[in-house]
Subunit: 159 residues, 2 copies
């Protein structure tokens, strides 16, 4: 019986270790070049959707178009972009050489604050878009764009 | 008085035309290479977030991580991706040569159906993610991945 219990314990341990390894494998850290590619993709999508909002509020307003674009920016801004600037991605090439300044990786607290402001103003824009008040959308869109500029000023190299 | 009214009408017409031109300028169609770059960026972000969900449900489950990733995929899937496959983008280079098959531009109805399924299953995944039931998330994640595969099978060239 003691022997039986030992076998059960060993089997349990083996299964636990196997499951643990599978977990580690599944969560293997992505390659730095992928992280850089994904963050470059994220900001390109923000640019696409920013352009759509600008075109709509300055030209022929389309409520659905603005809502879809604002939702997309909000989801990206709140997606956890900080994780795409992990250690090891200070330099390197995704779609192109990273435009992140070295300062970004040295002042994580300030970057996190700017990232949080981006998320906050983007969430607010998605909410305001639902009201369909173009003046209010323009005002909130301006606030959002200022968060883009703040972060670019501090942490993005000029091309 | 008649002369005065004429002046007012002419001024109004001039302002209307100017405003119209500004609208047209603001809504100038993006360049094909930008549309291709944005769609390639969109699918890269879907890949990033798909990977995060997979790592979380197969490894150490993190409810917030899955929710953020599912929200991002849902917003992108419902962002109006069809617009990024506009006429004039059948061939060309964004980040790289387009992987879209010519068939995509010939069967807009089928593409629109697949795009709608992608949006529907992604929206459902974002909803299911809120419940925190890993088995339910896995099941819905499988449904979402099948919509990716259907569209790739029909409309994406093998690299």
């Amino acid at each position: 019986m003691k022997q039986g219990l030992k076998k059960v314990l060993i089997s349990t341990l083996a299964i636990t270790l196997l499951a643990g390894s599978a977990g580690v494998l599944a969560q293997q850290a992505p390659k730095p070049e992928n992280l850089i590619k994904w963050r470059q993709s994220a900001f390109q999508l923000v640019a696409w959707n920013t352009g759509r909002i600008k075109a709509s509020v300055e030209g022929q307003y389309n409520k659905d178009e603005v809502q879809r674009a604002a939702n997309t920016i909000a989801a990206i801004a709140n997606s956890g972009l900080g994780g795409l600037f992990a250690a090891g991605t200070e330099q390197g090439k995704g779609w192109h050489d990273t435009s992140a300044k070295p300062e970004l990786f040295k002042d994580g607290k300030h970057f996190a604050e700017l990232n949080a402001s981006f998320g906050k103003e983007a969430t607010e824009l998605a909410a305001v878009a639902g009201g369909g008040d173009v003046a209010a959308i323009k005002a909130q869109f301006g606030k959002l764009q200022r968060t883009c500029k703040s972060c670019h000023d501090d942490f993005k190299s000029k091309d």
